[in-house]
Symmetry: C2
Subunit: 107 residues, 2 copies
């Protein structure tokens, strides 16, 4: 019987963040330059308004996304990655590379 | 109005795989040497038997995990990452590094 150390708490928390439906796509879309709600929705195929809104709020709460409001007319709302969020770029790049390497190969 | 290209289909598919609850942890646990169901469950805090079993089946279907049955008494069942699954190591390593870098910093 092997005795494995449990996955560390830090990894577990990061996995809960990334292992949540739509989060990788939302982070990716912000990385590639989308800043407004409509742009994000257009960039992420099949996401609904409600889920995008919910994920943005959660990611803001997690310190991954910042929401900036410019009091123009009409009000301009923009979303950006925080430093913590930008630091996820390598994770997303590796996931993107993996996806490309295995695209089209039979499962 | 910016015009962003939609997230590519390959990334979208990879994001659906990794962006599913428990999948990052299951892949991580297999990477770090767990092979048996009981080991995996012990390595992944809070996962239930039912969800672990479901995720292993899904990951097998996606070509990430292979299930090997040795017809001993009692039967020995082992799970391993396939080549495709092992190739996710860098993604998980980057996620682990990110988790360590930001552990304990206020959100």
């Amino acid at each position: 019987m092997t005795e494995e150390a449990p996955i560390c708490e830090h990894f577990q928390r990061a996995a809960e963040l990334i292992g949540k439906r739509w989060n990788p796509q939302v982070v990716r879309a912000l990385q590639t330059g989308s800043t407004r709600f409509g742009d994000l929705r257009a960039t992420i195929p099949h996401i609904s308004d409600g889920l995008l809104s919910e994920r943005l709020k959660e990611l803001e709460h997690e310190g991954i996304v910042s929401r900036e409001v410019t009091p123009s007319t009409p009000v301009l709302i923009e979303y950006h990655l925080t430093e913590r969020g930008r630091d996820l770029t390598k994770v997303m790049d590796e996931l993107g590379s993996w996806a490309e390497r295995w695209a089209g190969t039979p499962v």
